[in-house]
């Protein structure tokens, strides 16, 4: 059992946290023909956009209300209105997804009231859905911002009230750590039971890296507005990751669609739970293809366990991802720590990790405590820690800006878990060189001193 350590520290060195509006923008980009808009200074948008471009290797539509020192003090409603008018005229999006920023929120305005007024004053916006998520930079990080945007989409677009339930329709609410590749994998798994998934937001149809053949402003695809409006017709909703409990609860409150939370969809027991659920819901046994995938995973665990036992792994990322990957590592015999997350998100699960503590901190602290670890698992931003400590970095999470294919890294489902085990085992083997033979276990190793010897910095 781990203690969640949240020390008050004056300075963050090499931040692990990305901002909440950034997470909101990512979520909005999973809805078709959407233009995300930050209510803040143009820099808020520029920094966020550049990071998203570096991660997805895609053009990222993201606009700004361009607050200045004057409008930041006197109020930004006129800027918000102008931005919406200009976007509607220039890009004709079906939906404008507004995320507030620290700048707009420091003054604090009745943004929803402003939005209602803007709608009244601009009847020509009747066909443009306007959705606003309150995401001050000072609260939470990427996952929280993502979840707030999904909640906003549900509360402001989904038609409320009980609807006729369509048999077999499943609303899927993935967290920010679920990649486009993961969504493809999970969609196939759900469809294998004859069920129909509706994914909100659906990055597998927008930020999956494809060539549309024309220049499109706004998101390249995603959940359709019709799918979103009629989400209340789902028989059930599944929330993927603890961050998604709030959006799922909002959907239930609005439409009566019951939800089931899956805190992770990586690892044997986690996927077993999902498959049991789908099987019960569909009233059919797991089809042969799924059974075969499970069997392949078992084999991967058997072949892989040699390489995990006795390893020590430093792990950093968004809470829900760290929970899924940390649990998998521990289940295969690897030791965990240091474990670092950017916010307290998912702490009720993280506390169940078999390590002494989970730090709500930054990559500087990970680096200080990583001595003796065999591997660092984290985003590209952990590369400095890896360079200085000499511990190899296994890139996972957000952002991945110095490797290709981040959108298609699959860790979900039996197959995703199988492949993750292979990739991790290969990373361990690469360090061992030729000396290691899979038929033998590790030679005795020097006692390593975890967490006390700070690595050199600077």
């Amino acid at each position: 059992m781990a203690e969640i350590i949240r020390r008050s520290r004056p300075v963050s060195v090499n931040p692990l946290k990305s901002s909440a509006p950034l997470g909101a923008a990512m979520a909005f980009l999973g809805v078709e023909r959407t233009m995300p808009l930050f209510h803040g200074s143009q820099g808020c948008t520029a920094f966020g956009m550049v990071l998203l471009v570096r991660h997805f290797k895609e053009a990222i539509p993201l606009q700004t209300t361009a607050l200045t020192e004057i409008t930041a003090i006197l109020g930004g409603m006129d800027n918000l209105e102008q931005a919406i008018q200009n976007l509607a005229k220039r890009a004709q999006p079906k939906l404008i997804g507004i995320a507030t920023t620290g700048l707009a929120e420091t003054r604090g305005e009745d943004f929803m009231g402003d939005l209602a007024l803007i709608r009244r004053r601009n009847p020509d916006l009747a066909n443009t859905a306007l959705v606003l998520a309150s995401t001050p930079d000072m609260v939470g990080g990427l996952s929280e911002g993502w979840a707030k945007a999904v909640t906003a989409l549900i509360e402001q677009v989904v038609e409320p009230g009980p609807r006729l339930r369509r048999k077999g329709r499943v609303a899927v609410l993935p967290g920010s750590h679920i990649t486009a590749g993961d969504i493809d994998e999970l969609t196939q798994l759900i469809e294998a039971f004859g069920l129909t998934p509706v994914v909100v937001p659906d990055l597998s149809r927008s930020l999956d890296g494809h060539v549309p053949g024309e220049w499109i402003q706004g998101s390249l695809g995603g959940t359709t507005l019709e799918e979103l409006r009629t989400l209340g017709s789902a028989q059930v909703a599944i929330a993927l990751g603890s961050a998604m409990q709030a959006p799922a609860a909002a959907l239930e409150r609005l439409t009566g669609v019951p939800y089931q939370l899956f805190d992770r969809v990586t690892g044997l027991s986690a996927v077993d739970r999902l498959v049991s659920f789908l099987s019960d819901m569909a009233g059919v046994p797991a089809p042969p293809r799924v059974r075969r995938q499970r069997s392949q995973l078992l084999d991967a665990m058997l072949d892989g366990h040699f390489h995990f036992g006795g390893r020590q792994v430093a792990l950093a990322g968004e809470g829900d991802l760290v929970w899924a990957v940390g649990r998998l590592l521990a289940d295969l015999g690897a030791g965990l720590g240091p474990v670092v997350v950017p916010t307290t998100l998912g702490q009720e699960y993280l506390a169940q990790l078999p390590c002494a503590e989970v730090l709500v901190s930054d990559l500087g602290e990970l680096e200080d405590r990583a001595a003796g670890c065999d591997l660092i698992i984290g985003p590209s931003h952990a590369r400095q820690a890896s360079e200085r400590t000499g511990i190899p970095l296994f890139r996972l999470g957000f952002p991945i800006f110095d490797r290709l294919g981040a959108a298609h890294v699959v860790t979900a489902g039996y197959r995703g878990t199988r492949d993750l085990i292979f990739r991790l085992a290969n990373a361990f083997q690469e360090q061992d060189g030729e000396a290691f033979d899979t038929l033998h276990t590790h030679a005795p190793r020097e006692e390593s001193d975890h967490g006390s010897a700070p690595a050199s910095v600077g």
């Binding site: 004056p10 946290k17 606009q63 420091t106 060539v211």
Partner: protein, 466 residues
């Protein structure tokens, strides 16, 4: 006060954009009012200030802000260091809602103490940002107190994002150096062939393509402001004999003020392309000689540049027939509108369009001299670039990272000529590297493969592919 600093930047007499403005326009400031909500792109003043100062590699750059300002943006540029790596750390006070309510000054003070104790930097640059500026944190006072207490220079950079654009931020970064850094230390060595290079950030190591030439001539770089700079060298930059300004708009205030305060003559030049490189180096030597340096300096400069140019032309030989007549779409801005164009033309390529965003009146005149007024456009909409590249009106897009997908989605070559680029294109070696990279890109067999329709789909069309 920030307003005074802003006013002085808005009225910068050496800035040609300013000179063309009426008094009323000047008072309005640099383009911040022109930002259109919903149709603005580009970085903020904080972004610009940090770009201008972060290449001081032995300093800590501490961002006083909520997570967005540093958490989303750190470790994103390729300003190289030949030694210290301190500048690469992403350091921020990561302000929370409680910090905003209670004020962040104490936290900032503690943060400064912690980074000084831990890393012993040559200096700490503290960046003020929008939220603490609105909340009223007095960053300048905190910096002053911390500098006194800890005996390390602690420099306030007062450029919150909301005051304007990236370009304005570059200048505010320059103002910071003028106010707090340049002239505060005496250099250990000083010769009459000392020069400063202003506005080069050593992206991808471009400074290192030029420095050996200068050393061979006997020109000594006192400070590059700020590429691969050490704090001490910038602090002693006032002893240089000549200033070269590389990026015309970014730090014009630094060059002009240094002339005013210390009588250092300056000129504007570029290290892109053979002719411009030669011109810049010879001018440097000439100005030093005019100020009393050994006349042999100029002779050596002419010899070294002649040799460098000859060698570059020799090495370009194999590329010229392959590149001649190829049509380039250049989407940059500022001084690169002309410096890049002139380099591209040296390769025999045709510039079909070049954008002149953020360019000064003088920049634009140079562009017209090079390509004529038809090929010069203020801005090119993405849709239009996409069309030109898909229809073969242009063979390659030369731009920054954010517009690369316009080319790639049009299945056309793209080459990065902006700040995030991974290759260095400066000086005589740089132009050869540039030719090599352009050739590799255009000649890659991938273009034919991705443009061919799927063989199993006779009615294949782009529309059906998504």
């Amino acid at each position: 006060m920030l307003t005074d600093t802003l006013a002085s930047v808005f009225e910068e007499p050496a800035c040609p954009t300013n000179r063309a403005k009426s008094a009323a326009e000047k008072k309005k400031g640099c383009s911040v009012k022109a930002l259109t909500p919903g149709a603005a792109a580009g970085g903020c003043a904080f972004d610009g200030a940090k770009i201008a100062l972060q290449p001081i590699v032995d300093a800590i750059h501490l961002v006083h802000a909520p997570i967005a300002c540093e958490g989303n943006g750190w470790d994103n540029r390729h300003a190289f260091s030949s030694g210290p790596q301190l500048y690469r750390l992403g350091v921020t006070t990561d302000l929370t809602d409680l910090d905003v309510i209670h004020g962040g000054e104490q936290k900032l003070y503690k943060a400064i103490r912690q980074v000084i104790e831990r890393h012993s930097p040559a200096a700490v640059f503290v960046y003020q940002t929008c939220v603490p500026a609105l909340a009223g944190d007095d960053v300048e006072a905190v910096c002053k107190a911390a500098a006194l207490k800890f005996g390390t220079p602690v420099i306030p950079v007062n450029a919150p994002g909301m005051v304007g654009t990236k370009n304005l931020g570059n200048r505010l970064g320059g103002e910071t150096l003028l106010k707090h850094v340049i002239g505060t230390m005496e250099p250990e060595v000083s010769t009459d062939a000392d020069i400063n290079i202003i506005g080069d950030y050593n992206l991808a190591g471009e400074l290192w393509q030029v420095k050996p030439l200068l050393e061979a001539i006997g020109l000594r770089v006192q400070a590059c402001i700020t590429g691969d700079a050490r704090y001490r060298d910038v602090a002693g930059a006032h002893r240089a004999r000549v200033n070269m300004m590389v990026c015309s708009q970014a730090m014009i205030n630094v060059a002009r003020t240094m002339e005013e305060r210390w009588g250092i003559p300056w000129f504007e030049g570029s290290f892109y392309g053979i002719a411009d490189t030669t011109n810049a180096i010879v001018t440097m030597a000439r100005l030093c000689v005019e100020r009393g340096a050994d006349p042999a300096l100029l002779t050596r400069a002419e010899a070294v540049t002649a040799e460098g140019a000859a060698r570059a032309w020799r090495r370009l030989g194999p590329y010229l027939p392959r590149l001649t007549g190829k049509k380039a779409l250049v989407y940059t801005g500022g001084h690169k509108s002309w410096s890049m164009v002139s380099a591209v033309q040296e390769l025999g390529m045709e510039v079909v369009k070049t954008s002149v965003r953020k360019a000064t009146v003088e920049d634009k005149e140079r562009v017209i001299d090079l390509v004529g007024s038809d090929a010069m456009v203020d801005d090119i909409p993405a849709k239009e670039m996409f069309r030109m590249l898909s229809t073969g009106e242009a063979d390659i897009l030369m731009s920054g990272g954010r517009s690369q997908f316009v080319a790639l989605k049009a299945k056309a070559p793209w080459i990065d000529v902006n700040q995030e680029r991974h290759f260095a294109y400066a000086g005589y070696d740089g132009i050869v590297e540039f030719a090599h990279r352009v050739d590799l890109s255009i000649a890659n067999p991938v273009w034919q493969a991705v443009r061919s329709p799927a063989p199993w789909d006779a009615d294949w069309s782009d529309e059906g592919e998504a």
